[in-house]
Subunit: 195 residues, 2 copies
């Protein structure tokens, strides 16, 4: 089983980085294969320019990095996204990854009606999105409508035909006790050791 | 009255560009002043790197472009954002503008409790967000939870203390008749002629 991890956090000392390490530990405990796309380290350009947009219309991607990321997704059994929630949503880096890689002709295509979508990822079994935020879970849900879940899980991944998409949200990360953060990491490690 | 327009679309022939022109026409009809920040043309870098993140913690912005954009916002009576909805949300470019310009010490600060926010923009009277999408209005609301409104209008602009924030959503832009698109442009022109 091969897991592709798409990681987006610019600071090595972040809790997101600790989550990344726990995911890898879990996979290793299970003798699984993995690969990490570190969007910040790889200097991915998240901006859609006019060529990317024209390619979108023609279903022909042009950004070589986006194309190579889509190839890696094609080979994966599991996808994992790890990023922080900033202003209720993913950072620009992850949004640009979505715009340029979840792309017609790369990961999905349109049905004949030109509207419904069908996945081009037959091998992919599941996708897990792991996020951190300092907003309480109940506030994010009732005040901000679980915007990430609605837009990314439902309105992007599921809409484009991806199956078994799960969201793991760690809330109030700065405010909770270190023991809780440590417990969460162990939980993540176990989760990926059992997959 | 001075209006600052923050514009994000890479293609000159887009409906977003026609909206931009209508906003400008309306302002001119009213003998108003305006300035356009064209994020794509100006090659704004939407990525938060580790220095931007450290600056966020210290409330000291480091990106010279973000600082200069915040200075323009300080001088504005009205803000207008124009961008397309891609995958239920703003493009990476606009998300990065939010992350790097709606920034502590630039446009808002924290109250003594370290949590509630207070605006640093005493001159700003209103903010209008104009978006385009091909999803029907009712579907965007009920299936995708009006994710943009929840995250950007409520969870960013209002949360950081900005007043009179309005969202104007044009839906099913590709599918409607040209006459309807033309009518919308006239409506936008009138709106900004009356402000």
């Amino acid at each position: 089983m091969k897991t592709l991890i798409i990681y987006n956090h610019p600071y090595e000392g972040s809790y997101n980085h600790a989550i990344l390490e726990s995911v890898i530990k879990g996979i290793n405990n299970n003798y699984g294969e993995y690969e990490v796309i570190d969007l910040d380290k790889e200097n991915f350009n998240p901006v859609m320019n006019s060529n990317d947009l024209l390619g979108f219309v023609k279903h022909q991607a042009v950004d070589p990095m986006a194309i190579s990321y889509a190839e890696k997704i094609h080979q994966a059994d599991h996808l994992v996204f790890i990023f922080p929630i900033w202003w209720e949503l993913m950072p620009a880096m992850t949004k640009g990854f979505i715009d340029k890689v979840i792309y017609p002709g790369l990961t999905y295509d349109y049905k004949k009606n030109g509207f419904s979508m069908v996945s081009l990822l037959p091998k992919l079994k599941s996708t897990t999105v792991i996020t951190t935020m300092n907003t309480p879970k109940v506030m994010y849900k009732f005040s901000y409508g679980n915007a990430l879940k609605k837009a990314l899980i439902k309105g992007t991944f599921k809409k484009s035909g991806m199956k078994n998409v799960k969201w793991v949200s760690f809330n109030m990360v700065k405010m909770v006790k270190p023991e809780k953060r440590e417990k969460w990491l162990k939980k993540i490690e176990r989760k990926f050791a059992e997959m």
